[in-house]
């Protein structure tokens, strides 16, 4: 087994090159590798998030960086496809020797990169991907999720629906046919069955991801006349669906629930009517009712608007959250190390259980049992307001993450099955758009 | 009298309105060189196509060595011992002449290997002999594409000979060959056929060739056989002279 020996020798070589343990001098920079969509449909999230990352890094470095060390970013494209993504991620970690990575937007990418990060012993923040299962199946040391997952996100939307429209009898779903579309419906429908068993599901439609045309689906829904239509689609798909449905009167006929519609509001402009229930994947809204008068929050939003021409959407806030988490973690690690620069492992130790103020909403905690972030959820309903070319959210509810996130150690679907109708009666503060 | 090798009975075929074979009866005898003549469109090539299974007749049967081969696949008929040479040489242009020959040899033996090198087949000397016999051995290592037309024609015939057939059907073996070379090629060819003990049928337009090389001639006209006989008999027939040869 000659090659095995060679391989072992090689591994030793690698180990010598990569491990940079022991007494640390302050490095010249903290390198952060970021996986985001720069191509493909999901670049509607990835490109604004990249702009945000660059803006945040600039601001951070102007203020002296993290613990006095400037940050340096490098990006890889999630849209390049599986193999290219993994090889580029490895290159970033092994050749560029980044100190931490933020990966990624799609749960598919996270599924691929999380084990790689664990293998390569690099701290990774899942900054945007939502599949609950990733952290439920295994306990990771190096992987953290700096935001919520699909379970509280969908549950918040569902409870909002049950609170605001308690009498609906029928529901249909039109979701993109991939993990998020399927999983979000599984979460939503499981919880719905548990909390309101009498509702009838009249159609489950999963058009192909990136489908250019929903005419037939819309005809079918127009004929079926469900009380509620749920979709967790996003990006171009959601835009197309909403516009085609609006054009043909479907939005007026049924109550539409856009599970993660916050990211499309500005783009849809006048094509988005009033009265749609919209979720935001977290408590993200550029006019967040609890933060809207916060100077730093306003400055961030204005700066982003000036830079990109649009108000921030949730991936922008998710990116910012990852930075806040990193900053908090480093500060904590430096403090724990008696003011000296921490090793990589010490930084990872510090990340466990960190609570950090995002500045964009309520604080987030990285639950120490499973490294899952606990993030509040904001849901509202669309309404026109003077001075805006697009709809704003009104009657916003902000949900407490500790209540609507499944406890560590219980798989979300199992937990959702245990919910009772009374669960939806919880007290949730409601905010008017001012 | 030698035995009957190939026997066609009542062969009929038509393409749309054109009758290409209208009740063809013909026996090919062991050891002979039978020439087929006739005007263009008389159905000569169609007869070869039917005999080798490229076309399926609408009526009639073909027997070879007493076995019914009507509408069998070309490769099945080839396996039984009928080889064919073409009016336009059909070679593997991207391979060398020797490789062409060895493919033919490997085909004859069946169950070709996927691992032994072609160039190491034990048939190499035999193929060299055949190429030598036909007079193209100097081209053995050249790509078939590089050969002049006359030589291609000979290689085409060698490919057929490599199959060790009982019967060789040739479609205008000297067409496309400069007239100065025709005699030489036919000389080489008939010598080789005699040596290999192969019976032959050849379609031919050149009456000189027919006179010199055929034992027997069959005259085709509008899908029918007008006359069969020795070259002298046939070429003396005034009707044949008028309608077929055009004198």
């Amino acid at each position: 087994m000659h090659f095995l020996r060679t391989a072992r020798a090689a591994a030793t070589v690698v180990a010598i090159f990569t491990s940079t343990a022991f007494a640390q001098n302050k490095p010249p920079e903290i390198k952060i590798g970021i996986a985001t969509f720069l191509s493909g449909p999901a670049s509607v999230f990835g490109v604004p998030a990249k702009a945000a990352a660059e803006m945040i890094a600039d601001d951070l470095n102007k203020k002296g960086g993290i613990g006095g060390v400037p940050v340096k970013l490098s990006f890889i494209d999630e849209g390049a496809g599986g193999e290219a993504l993994v090889s580029n991620y490895r290159r970033m970690v092994q050749d560029e020797k980044v100190d931490a990575t933020f990966a990624a937007i799609s749960s598919g990418s996270c599924n691929q990169l999380v084990p790689v990060a664990e293998d390569l012993k690099v701290m990774n923040f899942m900054w945007d991907c939502g599949a609950a299962s990733i952290l439920e199946t295994r306990k990771y040391r190096y992987n953290f999720r700096t935001q919520a997952n699909g379970t509280p996100e969908m549950l918040a939307v569902l409870i909002y629906l049950l609170k605001t429209k308690p009498d609906f009898k029928t529901i249909a779903v039109v979701n993109q046919d991939y993990a998020w579309g399927r999983e979000s419906w599984e979460i939503f429908s499981t919880a719905l069955k548990a909390m309101k068993p009498d509702v009838q599901v009249v159609a489950e439609l999963f058009p192909k991801f990136g489908a250019p045309d929903y005419s037939t689906e819309i005809s079918r829904l127009l004929a079926l006349r469900p009380d509620v239509v749920l979709t967790t689609a996003w990006g171009g798909d959601l835009d197309t669906l909403v516009r085609q449905a609006g054009q043909r009167g479907l939005l007026q006929q049924s109550t539409f629930v856009l599970g993660i519609g916050e990211s499309s509001i500005q783009r849809l402009g006048k094509d988005l009517p009033e009265g749609l229930i919209v979720g935001a994947r977290g408590d993200h809204w550029f006019l967040h009712p609890e933060k809207r008068n916060d100077a730093a929050f306003k400055a961030f939003n204005e700066e982003f608007k000036a830079k990109t021409g649009a108000w921030p959407i949730y991936p922008v806030y998710h990116m910012a959250q990852a930075f806040k988490a990193l900053q908090t973690t480093y500060d904590k690690a430096i403090k724990a190390n008696g003011g000296n620069w921490p090793t990589r492992e010490q930084v990872v130790d510090a990340a466990v259980g960190t609570q950090f103020a995002t500045g964009f909403g309520r604080p987030v905690t990285l639950r120490s049992e499973d490294n899952q972030g606990l993030e509040a959820q904001l849901v509202g309903v669309t309404k026109s307001f003077p001075g805006y070319e697009f709809k704003l959210l009104d009657n916003m509810m902000i949900f407490d993450p500790k209540v609507i996130t499944n406890p560590a150690g219980i798989r979300s679907v199992e937990w959702l099955k245990t919910l009772k109708p009374e669960f939806a009666k919880m007290d949730v503060p409601t905010f008017k758009q001012q | 009298m030698a035995g009957v090798l190939l026997s066609a009975k009542g062969i009929k075929i038509r393409f749309g309105g054109v009758v290409a074979a209208d009740g063809i009866d013909l026996d090919v005898l062991e050891g002979e060189n039978l020439a087929i003549i006739g005007p263009n469109g008389a159905g000569k090539t169609t007869f070869l196509n039917i005999s080798t299974g490229y076309l399926r007749p609408q009526a009639g049967t073909i027997n070879f060595l007493g076995q019914n081969i009507t509408a069998q696949l070309p490769r099945t008929i080839t396996k039984l011992g009928i080889a064919r040479a073409f009016q336009i040489p059909q070679l593997f242009l991207d391979q060398t002449v020797m490789e062409n020959m060895l493919i033919s040899a490997a085909s004859r033996q069946g169950r070709p290997s996927g691992f032994q090198a072609l160039s190491r087949l034990p048939d190499v000397p035999e193929m060299e002999r055949l190429l030598d016999l036909v007079g193209v051995s100097s081209y053995a290592q050249r790509k078939a594409r590089e050969l002049p037309e006359g030589q291609r024609k000979l290689v085409d015939i060698s490919l057929a000979l490599a199959l060790k057939p009982r019967l060789l059907l040739m479609d205008e073996p000297t067409s496309g060959v400069a007239s100065s070379e025709k005699l030489e090629i036919m000389d080489i060819l008939t010598t080789a056929l005699a040596k290999e003990k192969v019976t032959s049928v050849f379609v031919e337009h050149d009456m000189d060739m027919v006179e010199r090389y055929a034992n027997r001639v069959a005259v085709w006209n509008v899908g029918k056989i007008q006359k069969v006989g020795t070259p002298a008999e046939v070429l003396a027939d005034p009707k044949v002279r008028e309608q077929v040869i055009g004198i």
Binding site: G46, V47, G210, P212, D213, S215, A223, D239, R248, R267 | -
Partner: protein
């Protein structure tokens, strides 16, 4: 499923078929004449859509009615410029060479155009619905349709079908194209400039792809990658019909459109499978497609 739903499904199927036909027939025409499968066809579709949307958004503030000529202009510009460049500089040097190379160079064009599209128009979805909104809605059994989709699109498709038929069967240029399709050598022998015919045909085919895109643009969000799916779909339609068959392409597009619509009503899970499964089944039974004609090789 009752008869009302069946009628709804037919309407959906027709409007889908109309768009698919426009794109597929261009592909089929190009193959019929040049014997090239144009993999960049989907990109021409996407470029047509993007340019149409860009122009529409420009002219809509002046008068929304100007968006219709804008759609037409966009398809002609894309067809002539992109189609012209592909034929003249990529395909022409390869005539007479291996088919694989011709196919693959259009694949290269597809990759480049896909990338250029992102560079020119960015990655954010673009939407220009003015042409759609100008036309009134129609209601069938209480279900609302846009007349753009159920009337205008099928009308354009029919006009294209009959226009192409007329052009090929009744005009001199069309006769020349048909002559080249049927026998290139003979056509060249009687003095037809085959290279010009190729050039013109490719531009017509490319314009049809772009027209498909332009007409689709008011109904859908334009996003990166929209071309890649269209090429296989239109290829499936053209191959199922028999490459080069114009009327056949129309009937096959209709067949696929209707089957797809009924499948969405009855078994939505199998929607994506429909065109490809039909293609496999048809090709297994009729290798030359439903309407393809056999050609015997002479030996």
């Amino acid at each position: 499923m009752n008869s009302t739903l069946a009628i709804l499904a037919v309407l959906d199927g027709i409007s889908y078929a109309a768009l698919v036909f426009l794109v597929s027939v261009g592909l089929s025409l190009i193959f019929g004449v040049l014997r090239v499968v144009n993999v960049a066809h989907g990109s021409l579709y996407a470029f047509g859509a993007y340019l149409a949307a860009t122009l529409s958004l420009r002219v809509a503030p002046v008068s929304p009615w100007l968006t219709y000529p804008a759609l037409l202009l966009a398809s002609i510009v894309i067809g002539a410029v992109c189609g012209g460049v592909i034929e003249r500089f990529l395909l022409r040097p390869l005539y007479g060479r291996d088919d694989v190379l011709q196919l693959l160079i259009t694949f290269a064009a597809f990759m480049i155009m896909d990338n250029l599209q992102r560079m020119i128009w960015g990655v954010q979805p673009i939407f220009a619905a003015d042409p759609l909104k100008l036309l009134p809605n129609v209601t069938v059994f209480g279900v609302t349709y846009t007349s753009y989709q159920v009337i205008l699109l099928p009308a354009v498709a029919l006009a294209t079908l009959f226009g192409l038929r007329y052009f090929l069967r009744r005009t001199l240029s069309g006769a020349v194209i048909l002559a080249v399709t049927e026998d290139r050598e003979a056509a060249t022998a009687i003095g037809i400039d085959a290279r010009r015919v190729y050039f013109v045909t490719f531009i017509i085919g490319a314009s049809l792809a772009a027209l498909g895109g332009a007409l689709a643009s008011p109904t859908t969000s334009l996003v990166p990658g929209m071309g890649a799916d269209m090429i296989v779909l239109s290829f499936a339609v053209a191959a199922t019909a028999g490459l080069g068959q114009i009327e056949g392409t129309a009937l096959t597009a209709l067949l696929i459109g209707l089957t797809r619509a009924f499948v969405i009503y009855l078994h939505p899970e199998f929607e994506v499978l429909v065109p490809y499964l039909l293609m496999v089944l048809v090709l297994l039974v009729r290798p030359l497609g439903l309407f393809g004609a056999v050609q015997v090789r002479k030996i």
